[in-house]
Symmetry: C2
Subunit: 201 residues, 2 copies
């Protein structure tokens, strides 16, 4: 065991150290007040190591963001089999937003949202949200099968709309200087959208 750990690449240890120190500094002082030089100094590392393990300063946040994939899956699996798929979607979205605000925080979300627009690799954001998109797509697929959704809309259509509504909620909240919670903004919005795409009786 010990040997196995030791045989793990030295690099992984360094990466973890840098990640920890960086996240600690970001939470203490805010992303913009922390420099990469400070991070590498306080983690007894170097610029070379930093950029060996992370593509950019904001990549630190992206790594944390992406690590949380498993949470979405847990929420998804927690739904009872027979629950209305539109209700699942609504609750899933609400829990997602609550999670993003409380576990990730506004600073992180703003940095990621901004960096995604600036990054030339379009994979940046979409990759790290892949498992999230997969879940909402699955839920929407179920809703279509159960004829809960306006039959004029395709799975791609509604899947895009849900993505747009998530992005709109988060971006809007990121801009506002407010104490109101993200989900207090997002829930009415997403629920209105879900009504809008529902099959009319």
């Amino acid at each position: 065991m010990n040997e196995l750990v030791k045989k793990q690449q030295r690099g992984e240890v360094t990466k973890k150290k840098i990640l920890e120190v960086a996240l600690k500094l970001f939470s203490e002082k805010g992303f913009n007040k922390v420099t990469v030089d400070e991070i590498v100094k306080k983690s007894d590392s170097s610029k070379g190591s930093f950029y060996q393990h992370f593509r950019s300063k904001s990549d630190i946040f992206l790594v944390r963001f992406t690590e949380m994939d498993h949470y979405y899956l847990e929420v998804y699996k927690s739904f009872p089999e027979n629950m209305d798929p539109m209700e699942k979607l609504s609750i899933f979205s609400q829990k997602l937003m609550h999670f993003l605000e409380n576990e990730m925080g506004k600073d992180l979300m703003k940095v990621i949202y901004s960096a995604a627009l600036e990054s030339r690799e379009h994979t940046y954001f979409l990759d790290s949200n892949r498992s999230l998109f997969k879940i909402t797509r699955t839920l929407l697929e179920e809703a279509i099968e159960k004829e809960k959704i306006n039959p004029e809309l395709s799975l791609d259509d509604v899947s895009t709309m849900v993505t747009q509504s998530y992005m709109g909620s988060i971006y809007h909240w990121g801009l506002r200087i407010t104490d109101r919670s993200l989900d207090s903004f997002s829930t009415p919005f997403i629920n209105a959208l879900l009504i809008g795409i529902s099959k009319k009786l």
Copy 2:
């Protein structure tokens, strides 16, 4: 006349020159490939002048973006008096997105959306959209008066939702590498939202 022009502050002439040169360079090479040094050199100006007239490099784009206020008002005023307010909103939104894509362009929109998240002055974005928000709010007010909207929703609620849907449409489109137009993404989304906030019969 000539005298009046001459009496205009020297500064305004410089500002205009910088703006023109910068926009030309941005459209030729893209925002990120143009440096402020290049802009001031090619406009026979200096860093001092640049930052005298603009708060930042991206402020150039914001100025252009904000100059276009009057367009929204024209569209708004073009609607016949008796048109359904929800239809007005739908058409207004569609024209807005078409305008943003074709007159502003994706590069500009991405830069502005990203800079807004990074700027410490929260006025950055909201200010430059003030007249837009005013119009959508007026349209929503009219819709509420005519009882077209779910009475459980306040004007603030629906106004926020429309803003969220605009931001979501634009942000989502900004991320995607696609030839599809912005309004082909935004229109179904915004229309679904409008259905979702409508008063049920």
